[in-house]
Each structure stands twice: as structure tokens, then as C-alpha cells.
Amino acid sequence: LEYKRMKPAGWFLHQLKHALLLFLVALLLGGAPGAAAQTITPPENPVFLPVVIQRGHTSLVPLPTDSYYFYMKTDPLAKARALGCQLGERDKALPGKQESLVILAFGITKYQDGQYGASGMARGGFSTVDQIAEAVQQFGLGYWDCTDTDFDSRLTVAVGTNNYNHPGEYFQNLSVTFEHGRAWAQMVNKIHLWFQNVCPNRCNGQVSVMGANDIELAWSSPDDAYNWVKGYDSASNFPLINFGAAEGCPNACGGGGFYWTKDKVMRVTSEGSIYVLPQIYRPDGHNAKQWHELSKYSVTRFGRPIDFAGALSNYGACQQYPNDKLCKEHVIDNTPEQAWTQLNNLVNGATVYTHDDLPYLTDIRWTD
């Protein structure tokens, strides 16, 4: 009624006054509109509240990377730099941000002349952990350099060895040990520090590192493999990728004179900091079924499935050696896409458990 008595100009000024008063109160209480995004201040002791996320199925096959059985004999540093650069150039040329994982496999564990190392993928070969670290650093540096103006794509290098031991009466590889695992972890930590402190501009956060072990159930006793893993876990700041095979599983895990129970397989697939990037080589889907069964067992044992990081295929190696018996007979020549799809369809189509998406897909081949 009061407004009706006002003249139009007075009514307008009255309204404007109220609006501005409200604006002022809002400004004093909460700041100017749009300021909220700028007012994040770091808590002294951050509290990380649990975030419940929806795990689910995806049908998007990740873009595969090339992983390598890395031969250390010829120019390892130049070769590593060039191969890292090759991936960097690829990621730069692709639209958007790429997340890649590459395994560099350096052969069997070795302990020689008081130093830990690996065979460098050569019979009778020996490279120290320091020499291996240098090659990995050059791989990461090559990636960073060749991504050029792409500052967002990222690479994780998984530095690999394996659990090969020989059960024969004349010879034992005595370096599949707790101490070797610990030395491997210390090497991984050092490589990380190199990317943080020596690589220019911290490699812009584009390169990370992890440990890796091709744990083959037919290559060592469960205890030897577990000791190595425990050694790695005792010193590592970064996860371990198991990129092995589940020979004989789920019914009779192991082979070659080594007998594993499923619980012992769990110790090298589901405990500690391990993620599994399994060999899914067989086109008939057998490898994927084995890992699916093991993951189901992990649910009953630990209340959670195996943490799969993705899938590993052997297609590149078969392309290099098409006359290889197992390649020629199509026993291990899944394409990367087949490998990932076989595993994903099983572990994410399961009724007893669901699994996070499998983010990585990589295909292994030999370097010269």
C-alpha cells in the first residue's frame, strides 16, 4: 500500500536501496560472486573424507603403448632416449591429454661382484641397478623432451625384472631374494628423485616411475617370489606392477617343479603395493579366465578383487618373430585390443564383483 502512494522515482530508489543493501550483506558474508573459487586456503592438517565412487564397466579400449624387453648391450642410453622420444612424439600428436604406461623389462635378477642388477635381457649379461636407472631416466627424459608443447600428457615407466630361478641341482639363481627386491625398490626411489630434482623443470610432472616384476609361477618357488616382493615393499615409495602369468591356475597353479597354492599366488598379486598387469596372450581367452578366477578368489579371501592396472599383450614380439613356434601357432599373439577386451569383459562383467576400469594397455616387444 505504501508503494502505491510513492511516485515512480521514489519507488525505484527505494527498491534500489533494498537491492544494494542485500548485495552488501551478501558481499560481507560470502564475498563477491565468483570469489569462492579463489578462496581455497590450505588446511594445516587436511582431512581426507572418503569418496564413494561408482565403479563400472567401460568399453573404451585404452590406446596401447609399446613396452620393451630392453637389451642393454648396445647403446642403452641413446636407445632409451630415442624410444621415450618416440612415445612423446606420439602423445604430442594426439589430441588431448594422454596417460601412458610402459614396462621396460631388464631380464632376470642378478647379484654380481657385490652389486645388484639384472641380465639386461642377454644371456650371461649383467647390468647394475645404477646402469638400469640411467637407461630409465633417459627414456623418461626423451618422452618429456619430445612431448614438446604438450605439458599435460603423462608417462609412467615401470622398471621390470622377473622371478626366474632355476630348480636344477647344478645351478640356482640366488638373487631372487628379499635383498634384491629391496635394492630394486631403492633404485626406483632414486629414479623418481632424478625426475624430481635433475630433470629440467621436474619434467613438468610428466614422468613417474614404478617397479615391476614378471612373476611367472613356473619360474620360482612361491617363497622366493614372495621374499623378493616383501623386499621391494620394505623400501619402496611407489607401487609394484606384477606383469606375470598365472600358469596352471586356478586348479593347479605353478609348473616346472614349483607348486603354488592360490593363497600363495594372492601374496604376489593382492598384497602390499601390488597392481597386476597380466599377460593376456592367448587368443582363446584362457589367460583372461585364469585371472578372473583368481580375482574372484581374492574377493573371498580379502573382500576385494585383484587390482588390475590393465592388460599386457605380446603382439609386437610376435610381429618381430613371426616364425616363433608359439606365435606361428597363434598361442600367444592376441592383439592389444583383444587382450584388454578379454580381461575387461570378464572382470567388469562379473556378477560377484565389479572392478575399476582398466586404465592401461601395453604391448611388449624386443629392442635391438
Binding site: 642377454a122 617343479g257 576385494r304
Partner: protein, 223 residues
């Protein structure tokens, strides 16, 4: 009436000026706070936003998780948070032109100490160079014959019924391996071991002590 309007307008303008001053002061304080703790909020946010961190936190909320599983997830979570934090630190570094340092000198021959590289050598096991699904290896031989370099591994097929087998690899120049070809020993032999090499092939011993010869050129067994 006109004077009342002018007074009201003046009051409003004073309010607006006051509000602008307060807003400016707050903004300045925020800027000072950010510059005294550079990038920290972004790094916290990067940890919060990391998909792996989020996934692991989600897993920790699962009541079905066993104690052992919980320990595993907690360990992975710490690692994932550390990685996300470090990546964020790297991403906050200057995005200037990338100039990689020169390649260090190659470690002269130190990177790989080949044992008896140009000679014949017998060795135990496969050194991890034969896939277990192809054969279980007892021992091996490496040497050159007819201008080619070979690795031959002796043992058996990987599963029952076991049968003696040789895996022959003709090494490609400059490469550590080649195609693996497998040859099965005559019936009744369940395991093979290489005893010695000759000019044309390998003398082998079966598990019952029987001797066999393998001709490398012909790729065939004979008594």
C-alpha cells in the same frame, strides 16, 4: 521530497563504496595468502581430484573389506596420494621451452658383461629366455655354426605327459633373441640335457642315461 531522494542516493553510494573497499581488501589478503604458500592449494586439490586416490578411498569405505585388504588399500592410498602430490608439484614448474640435456656418455661395455660372447658356452637353466609355456629348461648351449649364432635349450615339454624337447633359437645379428623353434625328442625320452657341442650339432643325454645326437643343420635327432 527531492532532497530525500538525494540523501538516499548518497547513502547508497556510500554503501557501495564501502562494499567495494571491503571486497578489494579481501581480494588483496587472498592474493597475499596464495603468494606466501605458492601452489599449495592446487597440490591439495590435485590429490583430491586424482582418480586413483578417489578409487582407493572408495574401497576403504567398503565394509566387506578384510583387515588384510584394508592394510593393502591404505598402503596403496598413501602411495597414490604421494604420486599425485609430486605430479602436481612438477606440473606447477615453469612451462618453458623444453631443452633436454645432452646424452651422457654410454657406459663403455660396463652395461653388459657378456660371458664368452664369441665362444661356445654351456650354461644351466634358460636364464629366463624361454617361456615356461614352451618348455622347461635344464640347460643350454650358445655358439656359432655355419656363420650363424645359436642358442639351444634342452629340457622337456611344460606339462604332462612330459617329453624331452630342444628349443633352438637362431640369433638375429645385433639382437638378443630370435624365433624359438621346438623339437621333440623321440618317444620314451622325458627329459634332455646337453652334454657337449660338436662341429655339426649337440650330444644330449636323456633322463635314463641314453645318448642322443641333434644335428643343428638338419634339425633332427639320431641315436
Amino acid at each position: 521530497m527531492k532532497q530525500r531522494h538525494i540523501q538516499a542516493l548518497t547513502t547508497l553510494l556510500a554503501f557501495v563504496a564501502l562494499a567495494a573497499a571491503i571486497s578489494l581488501a579481501r581480494s588483496t589478503a587472498q592474493t597475499a595468502s596464495l603468494s606466501s604458500a605458492p601452489q599449495t592449494p592446487a597440490r591439495y586439490q590435485a590429490v583430491e581430484d586424482d582418480p586413483q586416490v578417489q578409487a582407493l578411498r572408495g574401497q576403504l569405505a567398503d565394509p566387506a573389506l578384510s583387515e588384510e585388504g584394508r592394510r593393502t588399500v591404505e598402503k596403496k592410498l598413501i602411495m597414490a596420494e604421494r604420486m599425485a602430490w609430486e605430479v602436481a608439484a612438477g606440473q606447477a614448474a615453469p612451462r618453458t621451452e623444453k631443452i633436454a640435456p645432452a646424452l651422457p656418455a654410454e657406459p663403455a661395455q660396463a652395461a653388459l658383461q657378456i660371458q664368452a660372447a664369441d665362444e661356445d658356452v654351456l650354461f644351466e637353466g634358460s636364464e629366463g629366455l624361454v617361456r615356461p609355456s614352451l618348455a622347461l629348461i635344464i640347460n643350454g648351449w650358445e655358439g656359432s655354426r655355419g656363420g650363424a649364432r645359436y642358442q639351444v635349450f634342452a629340457g622337456s615339454t611344460p606339462a604332462e605327459p612330459f617329453r624331452g624337447a630342444l628349443v633352438v633359437v637362431e640369433l638375429e645379428p645385433g639382437r638378443p633373441t630370435g624365433a624359438h623353434e621346438r623339437y621333440l625328442a623321440p618317444d620314451g625320452t622325458t627329459m634332455l640335457r646337453i652334454l657337449e657341442a660338436t662341429e655339426t650339432g649337440l650330444i644330449l643325454e636323456g633322463d635314463a642315461g641314453a645318448r642322443l645326437f641333434f644335428n643343428l643343420a638338419l634339425r633332427s635327432f639320431s641315436p
